[in-house]
């Protein structure tokens, strides 16, 4: 589904990604974890080239997307859902329109897009608020709209960039429940989620990657890397689990 070879990114002298190699199978759910500033968001944004990597190769569905032209990349992005940490909803649009927006790019008529949007909103529990403005929503609700916006595109890959980082702890559970539910429902959809929610990752992810200073320093199945961590990050997360 997704293969990344030697992905590098730096801002001036600050090396953010230093030769990342990554593989993702169809339907696989991967959690990327690490301390703040370790390059997790840069990594996940580089996958759909929201951030242009300096070098390296990215293969999506066996297509090298790292050197695609903008227009070609735009088509690829329609198959890669993205859920932002700060929701990134279009404030002028209603909930329904936010969700339906991407569908218009895919050629759906507005009505069709609305219908699909409503279905997607039902999946996240917000169908009855479809015509609301997004500014009236809570953080959790906004993030659920964001998730619905990604899901409605029926992507092969969903990238979630710390979807609960900006949420009130009370609301985190709602979002995680939605995500967990989606993971169960859409088994064919691959997911990469950058998160600090270690219990969520342990419960949902097929694989966990620990990142530090632009590199994956440990990866493996959740039980493996969280029960017997080898990296200092894994150990930290283990302590968190133990603490909880």
């Amino acid at each position: 589904m997704l293969g990344i070879n030697n992905l590098k990114k730096s801002y001036d002298s600050d090396i953010v990604l230093s030769g990342i190699n990554f593989e993702l199978s169809p339907g696989e759910i991967v959690a990327v974890m690490g301390p703040s500033g370790c390059g997790k968001s840069t990594f996940i944004r580089s996958i759909n080239r929201l951030i242009e990597p300096d070098s390296g190769e990215i293969y999506f569905k066996n297509i090298s997307i790292h050197n695609l032209k903008p227009r070609e990349m735009e088509e690829v992005r329609q198959d890669i859902g993205f859920v932002f940490q700060h929701f990134n909803l279009i404030s002028r649009l209603s909930i329904k329109q936010n969700v339906a927006l991407g569908l218009t790019k895919k050629g759906y008529s507005i009505d069709e897009a609305y219908q699909k949007a409503i279905l997607a909103l039902e999946d996240v529990g917000l169908a009855d608020m479809a015509d609301y403005g997004v500014n009236k929503l809570s953080g959790g609700e906004k993030q659920r709209v964001g998730i619905a916006r990604a899901l409605v595109m029926e992507p092969d890959l969903i990238l979630l960039d710390e979807p609960t980082a900006s949420l009130d702890p009370i609301l985190v559970r709602d979002v995680l429940d939605v995500l967990e539910n989606i993971a169960k429902i859409r088994r064919d959809t691959s997911i990469i989620i950058v998160t600090h929610e270690v219990t969520f990752a342990r419960r949902v992810a097929d694989k966990i990657y620990f990142m530090d200073q632009g590199k994956f320093i440990e990866s493996g199945e959740p039980n493996q890397v969280l029960n017997n961590p080898t990296s200092w990050i894994g150990k930290k997360y283990k302590n968190i689990i133990n603490y909880n």
Partner: protein
Amino acid sequence: MFLRKMNFRKDIIILIIASILLGSGLVYVGGYLTDNYFMNMVSGIIGDYGEYDLLFTISSDQEEIAINQIKKTASETLPGSKFKTGPKVAGSSNYLLKIPDKFKNEEIYVNLGKYFSDIPGLMSKTIMTEPRLSVRGFRGNTRAFIRPLFEEIEGIYFLYPTSDGLDIIVEKPELLPEVKKKIAVVLDNYSMLEIRYPLNQHPEDLSGKQKDVIDLIKNDTKNVINVTDNSDSERVSLLTSLKQMKTFLLSYASKVIINDIDSSQDILIGSRLLAMTSEGAYLELKVIENQDNHITTIIQQGDIQNVISKEVEVFYTDTKGNQSDKLGNGIINNPRHDLAVTLASLNEITPSLNGFIAQSEQLVEFSDKIGDDLANVNQGLGQLAKTSENLSSSLSEWQEQGLSTFLGELLGILDDIKINAGDISDIQKDLIQTSNKLKEGAGLIEEKIIYVPRNNGIYQQLFDLKDVFLQLSSGLDENYDLVASRLQDMDPVISSIDSWQNKINSLLKVEKTLNNGADWENVDSIIAEIDQTASVLDTDQLQESLTSVQDILIELKTTQLPVVLNQLTYIQNSLPDLKEEEIIETLNLIDSYIAGEVIPGDQIQLLIEGDYNNKQVVNNIKTVIQNPAVNYMEMDAGLLQPNPRGEIFNILSQVRAVISMIIAFIFTLFLMIMDQSLIISVLRLNNRHGYIYGFLSGGFIFSMICLISQLEFPYLNLQTEFIIGGILGIIITMLSAMLNPVNREEWEAGVALGFSPAEIMHEIIIPSGKPGLLYLLNYPKVIFKRK
């Protein structure tokens, strides 16, 4: 590059074109409204600017015929002209005429006066073509020199000469300040130096002096051009005419002349005196001449029609104009009365001349008779000669032939000779009398002709008449002299005849005394004298002279006298009829006009290029001129006259330009804030060249609006306007994040959804931005128009 990549170029191009067109439209509308408001306000006061070219002011009572005539003339000479009726003011109507552009040239403008010269009721005609500059006060031939320099100035449509200057029609009002500036530069580069001789001074070899002066100062100046114009100006001609008119009127004005006063020094020219006539009437006098205790005054007020004595008493006046001390006695001189007397005298000549014609006829008869008489005299003398021969015979023969009878016949002959000689003497008297009358007439004409103006035809006629009189008189005098000499020649004959008569009477007595012893010595002396006398009298010459007199008289009768009589009749009919008050009023009017005016003498006019040391140059010239009475005047080459209409409209055009510029700037600012700032924000969001785009877009939009709307703001050209717009764009770029922020998260959301940058702009960024032109243009492309 980013713009190209983001595929938003088309939108930006459309936006900029729409912005420029809309901005230009707004500027145009703003300018139009400004024009409409201010120009209407001002044109209501001083007329339309530049729209019309000629203003006719017509007497309202002849308006219709005048307008028809103007229209007819315009359609013939300036086809395509447009007309407009202007406001009516106090009995006059204003009529405006717009000349088609193809007729706007020097030839037409120079002849406009001619085209519309014959319009009935036309009070005035004013050229009001704008934008126009007027240069006046060219001296001498300066205009001919300066004009080509003006013609080199860009922006001048055409020029045409005026009385003493040039009017310059400028291509566009916006060019007026620049053209005016360049004309001022040309004028400032030259100075006029005039070397003026006093009134009536005309130096010999003026052209030589001009050359000497120029040669002298050539090295002290950059360039010297001789622009001397010696032809009298119209002003000088007018002044000369007025002065002659004054002299003419003064010669007709009634005067009081005061002679032989002790001192007239305290009496000023123009001061007032009072004169009292013998009838007790007062005359108000004004002193016009005071020289050598001889004062000449003109009568300002008072009637002298009924004054009998010409002598008057003259008094000073006090400050209130009342009679004061006595100055002396004066004599009234009434030239018009004298002229009337002269004419009457001339009239009297007419019957004399008629009598002379009759007399001349008589003279011709006399001359014929004289011929006969002289023939008789000659015959008598021949008989005397024969008789004297006979006397040499014996007295006995006398007796045989009847001496007493012969002597009686001889006495008769001698009487006839005496009578004939007396006739010749009468002719002589007639000649003298006629000649004297002719001389008297000529003298009268000579005396009175000084009161007749020289520019009047009467003067020449009187002058000719005087010559005819003198010519006639001279002819008669010559014949008189001839007759007189013949009479003198005849005097001894007559005296001899007297003697002969006495002696013949004695002889008759001899007849009685023959027998008593006659005095034969007397008989011998008679015989000798008769011989002598007969040889002296040349009767042929006298006959010839009288015949020539006859010829002259015949010519006088047939040709010259009728001419003289006709001239006298003409003079009588054409003498001016002036009243005292009219003369005085006219004199005062002329005095008020020509007060201070001096008819210039000769002058040298030099046009000097560049700066020079005036004092040094003048001092050098003085060494050539060598005349302390000469004045040296430095003045401008020409005066650029303010054109109040043009200035006002120029100010208004600048107001229009300022307002239009403000509109253009504000609209550009509006566009930059509402639209361009959003694009700039997107560029900056993507780390692109926001400042460059801001500078270029601001500069391009602003300069193009100025260019398309033909906005001519003083001191700003297209480049400057571009820079101003560019600076505005940079400022907007600096403030763009505040003025029209772009939400990065929304942008990223669009990218993540697979939208192109253009689609993100259309669907996410622009609809969220400010409702400007971009918003409006984008609105049709928005998928989700409402929430």
